[in-house]
């Protein structure tokens, strides 16, 4: 009998055959292992993502939620609270306000990928993680250089651990909770620094923001900052791993973007569709919903399988082909609706610059291993290691 267990290592490694069965045979499926419903068709996911009154995020949006987080962050709250938090932050992430970051990001990319000069074989994670942490620190205004209070690799390691889950217990393990606590502690130190000596950066502005005369409560500031660091480091790093994985796997696509870097944005969009790192998020029903002959009850959790909607042949013809000429409009690689990713513009910009600079140093590469170790996570999907050879 068919089962879909988002905690299973087999799903971590290759969820796509499961998704196809779900879309075709069980488009509204109850997973006993996950204790939630799974929606897998593009149209159903768009509809649910748009209807926040029915599909609430206020009980948490991560498939395996972190303790105390639900309700205090952008991703885990509903309007109007969500809109009030978002209004404080989104200005900094708008495309036109990121222009000033373009040169610093390029300098980071040149420094990080320059290290690969002459390398014959390397783990792409080593460079992508250095790059993402440095970019995020620059973008958020985290203490760097002489001001730094932790080393960059520790930030990366904890961001990656806190999004993972344990395949056996189907819950967060002590190591994941410890990483989450570490990140909260780090965020609280940064917030205290910026409150004591505010600068013109995102966290200073956020930590001191008042809405209608009310300051945000400390838990909202702390957990939203924690989530921005987690999302910035883990999601962008995970996506870069998936993009490198695709270009290393599909040689024609890689040769095309190396020969003509103007094709990188299209290749990035197709990667977001083809196998985005943010595979699944969850919602909780505020009322009964009947769909595809099943009745889901108020209070039930529902998984929105973005990674499946992106492979839905009802929306994208020949969905299992990685085709950089596709221009996959409306893909769910950043989610959709009010909770669509806050960092779309900076992610697109940073990944484009990273691969422009990476390809100047390493234009030709392929995967060393056929089988990869995949991150154990019910929400995100990316390889833990990606050995590439030139």
């Amino acid at each position: 009998m068919f089962s879909f267990d988002p905690y299973s290592p087999a799903v971590d490694a290759d969820p796509f055959p499961y998704y196809k069965y779900l879309r075709d045979e069980a488009p509204c499926f109850w997973s006993p292992e996950a204790q939630m419903w799974v929606l897998s068709r593009y149209a159903d996911i768009v509809s649910a993502g748009q209807d926040w009154q029915t599909y609430s995020s206020a009980s948490g949006n991560l498939m395996t939620e972190l303790p105390g987080r639900a309700g205090a962050t952008l991703g885990s709250s509903d309007p109007p609270k969500h809109d009030r938090l978002r209004g404080l932050i989104q200005h900094a992430f708008m495309k036109r306000n990121l222009l000033a970051l373009e040169e610093p990001i390029r300098a980071i990319a040149q420094q990080v990928f320059g290290q690969l000069n002459g390398a014959k074989q390397f783990d792409f994670k080593e460079v992508s993680s250095q790059f993402t942490v440095k970019v995020l620190m620059a973008a958020l205004g985290l203490p760097m250089g002489e001001e730094a209070i932790v080393d960059e690799q520790t930030v990366r390691d904890n961001a990656v651990l806190m999004v993972q889950s344990d395949a056996r217990t189907r819950a967060k393990g002590p190591e994941h909770i410890a990483a989450y606590n570490w990140m909260q502690d780090y965020a609280s130190k940064v917030i205290a620094m910026r409150r004591a000596n505010p600068r013109n950066d995102l966290i200073s502005n956020f930590a001191l923001a008042e809405i209608d005369g009310d300051r945000l409560d400390d838990r909202e500031v702390l957990l939203t900052t924690t989530t921005l660091i987690m999302a910035g480091v883990e999601s962008m790093g995970g996506f870069m791993m998936m993009f490198a994985y695709n270009l290393a796997t599909f040689g024609d696509a890689r040769r095309a973007v190396v020969a003509n870097p103007a094709l990188l944005p299209d290749a990035i969009e197709e990667s977001l569709r083809f196998n985005t790192s943010a595979q699944r998020f969850r919602r909780r029903l505020m009322q009964d919903v009947t769909i595809h002959g099943q009745t889901m009850k108020a209070g039930d959790f529902v998984c929105l399988a973005y990674g499946s909607g992106n492979r839905d042949e009802r929306q994208y013809p020949n969905p299992d082909a990685y085709d950089i000429t596709r221009k996959p409009r409306g893909h769910l690689g950043f989610g959709g609706g009010v909770h669509a990713c806050l960092g779309t513009a900076i992610a697109r910009l940073a990944v484009k610059i990273a691969f422009e600079e990476f390809h100047k140093v390493v234009p030709e590469y392929h995967r060393v291993a056929d089988q990869l170790p995949w991150m154990p996570s019910s929400t995100f999907r990316s390889p833990l290691v990606l050995e590439l050879a030139v």
Partner: protein
């Protein structure tokens, strides 16, 4: 469900049958209408789904929120009294037959 007609700056007209609750931005991006970008995914954060609503029917739409009005200041093409962001307008049966015009540029 509602039939929504998108008219691009080139004159190209496309009518889409939109499920209740889908935004006009999602209806465009899911149906290959190029005049709407929707770069932020529909969270009222990028101003690249700018559209001009049929003036006669402006009054039938729920009013723009403060967030949408603020974001409309960032549109690339001319802002007019009937300018809206397509990601903030959800399809309902009441919008049947609505026509929206798309600007020449979104960014």
């Amino acid at each position: 469900m509602a039939n929504i007609t998108y008219i691009e700056a080139s004159g190209q007209s496309t009518t889409v049958n939109l499920a209740d609750g889908w935004s006009l931005m999602q209806g465009a991006t899911a149906n290959g209408i190029d005049g709407i970008l929707g770069e932020c995914g529909g969270s009222c954060a990028c101003a690249t789904c700018h559209c001009y609503v049929d003036v006669d029917r402006m009054g039938e739409l729920p009013a723009a929120s403060d967030g949408e009005l603020a974001m409309l200041e960032n549109v690339a093409a001319e802002r007019r009294p009937n300018s809206r962001l397509a990601c903030q307008i959800k399809a309902t049966a009441a919008l049947e037959g609505l026509v929206i015009h798309l600007p020449e540029m979104q960014e």
